[in-house]
């Protein structure tokens, strides 16, 4: 069912409210903020991957006008910087500054001075005495008996836990009897996969400005995906009453999940501001940022069984997550990894063991897809292999087994279950197959010569929030505030953050659609924690489904009030009145159909309401979405492998997406282009390897050696086709679902399958670099 044709604003490309400010460089990000008497901070970082800090001697700078902060001066509180899960799922092992650094780059101190240069010079004069400890850089090594313990004790829900074998947490699940399932399988394939550890490379490095206020409170401008969780965490650490902590919404220069947690710069700057009683700015350099966060590296042992008719029978997954030096959201992720896996294809029997393991590396956090790109790569690679062994076309094999409408879905983990109510998988796969002439693709490894082309396909999904009919371990609700202004326009306020994808514009369109007003009449007001109701965080591709759901809820409440006021003015029955958009007058209009002269604009309603003292028409409310609808995606990619250099390039891309009602087609397609570029790079390029001797990143944090693709690495636009399935999500605002993460999730599997189709080699490690391709081709040649 589609309602696209009935919409006036939705489904049309519209100009973004923040567009002009962004393209003219006038948008102010947290790293642009400058306040009078502001100090600039620099962080003292551990050069060792694992050590005790014995002392920090600041005597050389005691005569300088510099504020120094050491671990002894910050609250002695262990916390978790991410507050999206319930307390029983939130493991705490962080401190504002540590005297036991667990990775190269971990903050052990900080200085603040009048300029960044002065602060840097002071930093270099600090003398630190360390007791270096041995370190471990591989998750499997870290679990061995002889490995050094990275954490002795961590906290879960106020209870202290002892850490054994560096395993931070684990999840074990079995549904059905997987052993029996394998016994009944005609064919079983088992493989081990190892993913890369990618850096987000968001445009804006982590940054914060903190101003201490005369009332003992603080005002905070920071890179964050969640205003309210930032306030809650700062309250927990520093004990400042929440009403005196004001976290202001500032545009975010990209994030990809790296600011779901409160970034380490934030509490450090708060501590410096409280100590110095002056505003403090702390902006990480790119090199510090690269030592601050990365994706989770995962090692999977995946086993799938199928009947000879091509039905999956059983599955087992062992997942080892390399989480680095601290936990950010390892436990919920272990639940998601199994959720992502079992919600792709129907498995009558399945078992899972997931372990999150500490290593002396940069802490891992969510990165667009939250483990889904990793496991989908493994599953989609194995599905291809299984299909090959069964002699079934891989696309047909997927169609036989996918989870779709009416099926139980628990992508966001075992505590977030709901039933799928809209699904475009079949449409995506059949239409995409036609567009690339799938069934006539080359036979694997059939080509000779220098350049070899191959076509691969893969599919996936992501959730649109973590909603469900009953509460689970993931907090997920938002809220919105909408009021009618005296000229018939509206002010819309939400705590929900826009990462740059145009989420808030989508909210404005949803409101404009519901209230029948021109889009320009919806004014988005940037607000703060004091003037908004709680929103958990912009993550899980929930911006439109959840945030837009909240916007729609308050718009409907406002609409009822408009109806009542108009009823009084028109001497009509409120419930019988209708709404329409009047572009000539630039107004929404309420009218009694068929009765001439019985109509009134929103402006006239507001005018009347003010002069007759009826009050302001406004609504504020929270909204919990009832379901967790997956948005589905499918990719068909043609690649060309240069067998002389090992370089692989994308020749053409066909991408289909089921996102329910499309709110802004160009922005939605943009998400897919970006998702493909990021997934492409995940497949063939990105990683953050370590130098075991020094314990630091091999690239030392320099992006000159952390390459991401440019437009030149992507296919020409005419060879990149995007289409949207014709679906409608009954629980979504006007039928809409998410797109952000599903745009990325199937890419790695698709590209890997295309490479296999071109050269006949399967890779089980990411990234599949030019070095690996060339060496595999040589090996193949030598053995032939």
């Amino acid at each position: 069912m589609s309602k696209v044709s009935e919409f006036t604003v939705l489904g049309k490309d519209t100009r973004r409210q923040d567009g002009i400010a962004k393209v003219t460089g006038r948008e102010v990000f947290s790293s642009d903020i400058s306040l009078p008497r502001m100090l600039h901070a620099r962080v003292l970082k551990s050069p060792y991957p694992h050590a005790h800090v014995k002392s920090i001697d600041s005597s050389k700078i005691k005569d300088l006008d510099v504020v120094v902060l050491t671990p002894g001066e910050v609250p002695d509180i262990k916390f978790c910087p991410r507050l999206v899960s319930t307390p029983d799922s939130t493991y705490k092992d962080w401190k504002v500054l540590t005297d036991k650094p667990r990775y190269v780059g971990e903050a052990i101190g900080a200085v603040a001075a009048d300029s960044e240069e002065e602060a840097q010079r002071a930093l270099e004069l600090l003398e630190v005495e360390y007791e270096p400890l041995s370190a471990v850089f591989d998750a499997e090594e870290a679990m061995k008996k002889q490995a050094i313990p990275i954490h002795d004790e961590i906290i879960l829900d106020e209870e202290t836990l002892k850490v054994k074998n560096n395993i931070g947490c684990q999840v074990e699940i079995e549904e059905g009897d997987s052993k029996k399932g394998f016994e009944e399988s005609d064919i079983i394939v088992e493989r081990t996969y190892r993913t890369n550890r990618r850096y987000h490379n968001q445009l804006e490095c982590k940054s914060v400005v903190v101003r201490p206020e005369p009332n003992g409170g603080i005002t905070v401008w920071s890179t964050t995906q969640t205003l309210h969780n930032t306030r809650i965490l700062l309250h927990e650490i520093f004990g400042i009453p929440m009403g005196k902590i004001r976290v202001i919404k500032v545009p975010l220069g990209g994030s990809f999940g790296s600011s779901i947690q409160v970034n380490p710069v934030v509490p450090i700057a708060v501590a410096l501001a409280l100590k110095s009683k002056r505003p403090v700015k702390l902006s990480y350099t790119r090199e510090e940022d690269l030592h601050d966060h990365c994706s989770y590296q995962m090692i999977f042992r995946l086993k799938l069984g199928a009947s000879k008719e091509g039905k999956l029978t059983s599955g087992h997954l062992d997942a080892i997550l390399d989480i680095g030096g601290h936990q950010i959201q390892a436990y919920p992720l272990l639940g998601c990894v199994v959720g992502w896996w079992v919600s792709l294809y129907k498995l009558p029997h399945k078992s899972y063991m997931g372990k999150a393991v500490y290593t002396n590396k940069v802490p891992s956090c969510a990165f667009r897809g939250y483990g889904n790109p990793q496991i989908t790569w493994a599953v989609e690679t194995l599905m291809d292999e299984l299909a090959e062994k069964l002699g079934i076309d891989p696309l047909d094999f997927r169609l036989k087994n996918y989870i779709g409408e009416g099926d139980l879905f628990w992508g966001q983990g075992p505590s977030v279950k709901s039933i799928i109510q809209s699904c475009g998988v079949e449409e995506i796969l059949t239409r995409g197959a036609e567009m690339v002439d799938w069934y006539n693709r080359p036979k694997a490894a059939s080509q000779r010569g220098r350049y070899r082309r191959g076509i691969g396909m893969g599919r996936g999904y992501h959730t649109s929030s973590a909603g469900a009919p009953v509460p689970g371990t993931v907090i997920d609700f938002g809220g919105a505030f909408l009021k009618l202004n005296e000229d018939g326009t509206f002010d819309y306020i939400t705590a929900l953050m826009d990462h740059g994808g145009g989420t808030i514009d989508a909210h404005a369109k949803i409101i404009a659609e519901e209230l029948c007003v021109p889009l320009d009449n919806i004014n988005v007001v940037n607000a703060d924690t004091g003037t908004t109701v709680y929103d958990v965080c912009t993550h899980a591709s929930r911006g439109i489904y959840s945030g837009g759901g909240a916007a729609l809820k308050v718009a409907m409440q406002v609409k009822e009030k408009l109806r009542d006021f108009a009823g009084k003015m028109l001497d009509g029955y409120p419930h019988a009145l209708k709404f329409r958009r009047d572009m000539e007058r630039g107004q929404g209009v309420v009218y009694a159909e068929g009765i001439e002269g019985r109509e009134v604009t929103f402006k006239e309603i507001a005018y009347n309401a003010r002069h007759k003292n009826w009050g302001t028409i406004a609504a504020v409310d929270s909204y919990r979405q009832p379901s967790c609808p997956p948005h589905f995606t499918g990719y068909f990619v043609e690649v060309e492998v240069d067998t002389w250099t090992g370089k692989v390039r994308p020749v053409q891309v066909v991408a289909g997406a089921d996102i329910g009602t499309v709110i802004n087609p160009k922005l939605a397609a943009g998400q897919i282009h970006g998702g493909f570029a990021q997934g492409w790079s995940m497949t063939v390029n990105e990683d953050t390897p370590y130098m075991p001797k020094e314990g630091d990143l091999w690239n030392h944090g320099f992006i000159a050696d952390y390459k991401i693709p440019t437009t030149k690495d992507m296919p020409p636009l005419e060879d990149f086709q995007v289409f949207f399935a014709n679906t409608y999500e009954p629980t979504g605002p006007f039928g809409a679902k998410g797109i952000g993460e599903g745009a990325l999730n199937p890419v790695a599997g698709t590209v890997a399958n295309a490479i296999q189709n071109a050269i006949g080699v399967r890779f089980y490690d990411l990234p599949i670099t030019k070095d690996m391709i060339l060496s595999a081709l040589k090996e193949k040649e030598d053995t032939q």
Partner: protein, 299 residues
């Protein structure tokens, strides 16, 4: 380098900044302040100072010396001032027409933004084994003009490099310009580089320039980048190809020789084995393409 020092954002060290307007003044300043670094485009120098790989006390900015900049065709030679912006060379009709190989090499350096700032002298004197501009000049057998106090000398460009970041220049000398002889009729060249993305320092690169007379290679120069401590010219391969008629067998053996002749290391951009293996295919392609272009030009 310490994690608490390096970055690409701040230069906390103090230095003096000098802006001479003549070559003589520049050379005098270089002589006077031994602990100096020359600022040309700054695209390598400034990041290196932020990374604290270089901490010069004196920065000698050469941008205000007009005679160091520009492209000029004189007789059978082309002169390129050391301070000429890479983008200027890329867009020069003279270079595009007369030195297409150099044009291809320059176009491969960094991004447009980098090429708008960076200079050919900087690309060369930074002495990176991966410098694409240097590689082109080597394959074109360019002459480097060096100026010091009461001193002027010329060296062939492939003799300029000592190792990564090191040239034969003393701290009081500067490169004023490069001279390239315009290749004769029947010449062709080819430059290829492989990187991790299209905007990357070469993992490995090759430049081949040759002149063909009566279907035989008369002159040939082969140079590879990122395969040794300096940009590497391979005389053995050149000799093998010279005075020969090109056949598949000749190209295959030349390519194998090129691969055998390089001494790559494993670094973050690629493994030594990769470079050895990729060199074969790249040499095949570069020699074949240069040969085809030269033959085309001979007609």
């Amino acid at each position: 380098v310490s994690i608490n020092k390096f970055n690409t954002h701040i230069i906390p060290t103090r230095f003096e900044y000098h802006t001479p307007t003549t070559i003589t003044d520049a050379v005098e300043l270089l002589k006077k302040y031994e602990n100096n670094k020359i600022l040309a485009g700054g695209t390598d120098l400034i990041p290196k100072m932020k990374q604290r790989l270089l901490e010069p006390r004196h920065l000698i900015n050469l941008k205000k010396i007009p005679e160091l900049r520009g492209i000029e065709e004189k007789g059978d030679k082309i002169h390129i001032g050391a301070l000429t912006k890479l983008r200027e060379i890329e867009r020069s009709k003279i270079i595009q027409k007369k030195l297409p190989l150099l044009h291809d090499c320059i176009r491969s350096i960094g991004s447009v933004q980098i090429r708008n700032m960076g200079t050919i002298g900087g690309n060369v004197c930074n002495a990176s084994p991966a410098a694409d501009g240097a590689l082109g000049l080597i394959a074109l057998d360019a002459i480097t003009h060096i100026v010091g106090l009461n001193l002027e000398k010329e060296v062939k460009i492939d003799k300029l490099f000592m190792g990564p970041g090191h040239t034969i220049l003393s701290p009081s000398e500067l490169v004023s310009n490069f001279t390239v002889r315009i290749p004769e009729e029947g010449s062709g060249g080819c430059f290829i580089s492989v990187g991790r993305t299209s905007l990357d320092i070469s993992t490995i690169s090759i430049a081949v320039q040759m002149t063909v007379k009566r279907s035989r290679i008369q002159v040939c120069r082969v140079a590879l980048g990122s395969v040794a401590p300096t940009p590497l010219r391979l005389p053995d391969v050149e000799e093998h190809l010279t005075d020969r008629k090109v056949t598949n067998v000749l190209i295959e053996t030349a390519a194998e020789m090129a691969s055998d002749g390089i001494k790559p290391i494993t670094d973050i951009r690629g493994t030594a084995e990769y470079r050895k293996q990729a060199a074969i295919g790249m040499a095949k392609e570069a020699i074949t393409t240069a040969w085809e272009k030269a033959k085309e030009a001979e007609r």
